[in-house]
Symmetry: C2
Subunit: 285 residues, 2 copies
């Protein structure tokens, strides 16, 4: 059975963009939004969903169930989603950490309905369906973390993968543990480095005018620090062990820099840093 | 005596942009470039200088002497510049740290020729007169650090200030010590935070494919890490004491974050970080 009905739970930036992108990619089935009344009104106006419905009406009709809420909300909803989802359906989510979600899903899901964790590495500044964007997934990595080592077989799973490709996403299948380890380096540590720097400079310049000398370097390095804590609270809570390790490694690296400020030791750091820039994916997002 | 002849020593991105910007601002006098043969050829082609000359020919004719070389080169040249500069001339530089340059200049300069340290907070990726830009100083802060507390009086000094205003720079007069303290927070620490992060992630992902998941956060936070060490070597060498302190404060901040990963302590850090973003100058450079 191909995908005819999709329930999007949480029609914000990601959920709304998923709806808009599917429509643009030629999806002709039904998009049911499950969200607050106000969000559904905005989502309908933008064409991101066809109709709003309460969860107990939307899920039993859905072939694909797309959980696009905050991590803690996804975890909280999983038992209800399991009860309401049809046997043939695929349930997937967009949470920024995967181990806690996938562990909980593994207790609940099995041979149908299926569950596959997901994390589209896409976003932009701001939130909500108002800035949803049909091109959000284009060129972006999209991590899929199955409950066990491999994606389950099944028509809905295959169809979902085909849609992700049509959306322009680069699908990577990996374990939830590996995902969370990788993003602690590539996403969570950069966020904390930015937040720490911004908070520190704020403290140092609270009562003086020195910031008038600040140039583009400080602006670049504190851009991430604009992210609201309510998004990061769940992420940090659910990836604490990895972050402990990465933060410790970053602290140790800075400490060794501090100790080699008066030697040529820093040349190697700059070289390594340059090498990373060559290696980073050149996606234009 | 107004400024009729300007000698620019080191016609790279900053020196070349100074020449182009002066011309665009209506300067009708002579721009003499002192640089390598090849650089002078490129600078002439771009119209950044009118003529090239060796230092001992250029300086005795100059009303304004603009030192736009690396910090260590500026310090090395100061005695020769002092010997060759006319009594009425103003000597100024563009070094990214000011204490060592100004201390050395204070030993050499007095009531004429005059010396005033300078640091235009302007730049862009890349180097050399090829990317010099007449609008480089527009909207940018331009720090001036006199030998003593105040700018010297004199027609050439006043004329230089007027040209900086015509170039669109925001002039800030402060002591060399205060300048170096401020930029250790607003420029040097962001650079080291970026370099450390990039070098660390490079180490962690040397032999695996995890970086395919990297998104825009890591790219933003490692952009500065593309700066070559040869530029930073001098800067770090001449601002070591301030950087020791700021690095220690950053390390302590990260350590306290690490310890409060499992509490609500991070909410306050995110708030502070947001507050900095509101406070940063919104220059579009």
């Amino acid at each position: 059975m191909p995908i005819e009905t999709i329930a999007i739970l949480g029609v914000g930036l990601i959920g709304g963009s998923f709806g808009l992108a599917l429509r643009q990619a030629g999806f002709t089935g039904r998009l049911i939004g499950v969200s607050s009344e106000r969000t559904i009104r905005d989502a309908l106006a933008r064409g991101a969903v066809d109709v709003g419905a309460p969860i107990h009406e939307a899920l039993p009709k859905a072939d694909l169930i797309y959980l696009a809420q905050p991590i803690s909300k996804i975890i909280e909803l999983l038992p209800q989603v399991r009860r309401l989802a049809p046997e043939h359906a695929l349930v997937t989510d967009v949470g920024s950490t995967k181990v806690e979600i996938v562990d909980r899903a593994a207790e609940l899901f099995g041979e149908g309905p299926f569950f596959v964790g997901g994390h589209p590495m896409a976003g932009k500044e701001g939130r909500g369906v108002a800035i949803a964007d049909a091109t959000l997934f284009r060129g972006a990595a999209y991590a899929l973390t199955p409950l066990h080592d491999e994606l389950p077989n099944g028509e809905v799973v295959n169809s979902f993968l085909q849609y992700l490709e049509k959306l322009g996403a680069e699908v990577h299948v990996l374990t939830a543990a590996e995902h969370d380890r990788v993003v602690s380096w590539t996403s969570h540590m950069p966020q904390l480095a930015s937040t720490a720097l911004a908070a520190l400079v704020m403290d140092a310049f609270r009562d003086n005018e020195g910031l008038t000398l600040a140039g583009s370097g400080l602006r670049d390095m504190t851009r991430l620090a604009e992210s609201p804590f309510e998004i990061w609270s769940d992420i940090l809570d659910t990836n604490r062990d990895n972050l402990q390790q990465v933060l410790s490694a970053y602290i140790a690296r800075l400490e060794s820099m501090r100790q080699s400020l008066d030697s040529t030791g820093l040349a190697k750091q700059f070289e390594e840093a340059n090498a990373l820039r060559q290696k980073l994916p050149k996606r234009d997002i």
